[in-house]
Amino acid sequence: MSGHRRFLIAGIAIALLIGVAAVFLASPDPDGLESTALVVQGEKTLTGDTPGDARIDEDHLAGDFSYSSPMPDYSLGGTLGPWGGILAIIGGTLLAFLAVIGVLRAMKAVSRRKEEQVEQ
């Protein structure tokens, strides 16, 4: 197996392992941005724990655009249990990988075609 391929497979395997571990081990607490929003809205103190019922009040925020993603919060809904999260993370990780390969290959193809046109 070539070094390239071995690196690729090992890299993807590590990424997928991290993603799957995240489904079970990631903390449900808010991230730094959400925590800041809760602090400025008086739902949480700066250094204290986040109360279980703390929610960001979206009605008083400036943005009025809304979009419903197909897999919010990295899950496929409650019916699949943790499998929904695992599938969503695996799908997203592979998609991020393929998006990079796809864009780079497409750019290579375009510049190769341009070079050929110049040569002709």
Partner: protein, 216 residues
Amino acid sequence: MHIPDSFLPIGQALAYWAVALVFIALSLRWARDEMHEEKIPLVAVLAAGIFALQSFNLPVGMGTTGHLAGGALAAIVLGSPFAAVFILTLVLIVQGVLFGDGGITTMGVNILNMGVIGGFVGFYGFRGLMAATRNLEVSAFAAAWLACLVPALAGAVELSFAGTFPLRAGLVAMGLYHAIIGIVEGFVTVVAIRLIMTARPDILQLGAAPDQQVVT
């Protein structure tokens, strides 16, 4: 650090998109000019790894969690801040469109914060620190810490313009939380760089200038 749609008025969100697009165009030019065939797997694996790591929220105390942003890692490993813009743009598109992590109108500001600011702070922070300390781990850790903190402070300023956070309270809370989250960012960045150095030193293009010796 992913700003959702509801946090920014659409006019401001579009203005950040416009700035982000300039850097996205420059990152595509970087990819066209600098991307050799043998480096493509590294870029793709970094994107997959950063996506997975961004979904892994670790508790950092004070009822708050944090995850890797990845701008410093991408920029240091691939030797250009535009590598961070390129990778973070694609990761944020997947996250925003499919998973609702970060908004659509606010994808521009998220690319600007995590990709552009994170990438530039991480890259030049690493170069400067390498010149000063000649120590890879110390330089990468500190640069990644800064590449987590500075975008968070930028986010606080942007959200104060939006009227979402008061400036001072936003800077204090975002700064405090991300100063701690940055420790996770620094640690993961150093571990990832060491892993890649062990596996494929030939394709690693550490952000240090070529004449600088890496002391490990």
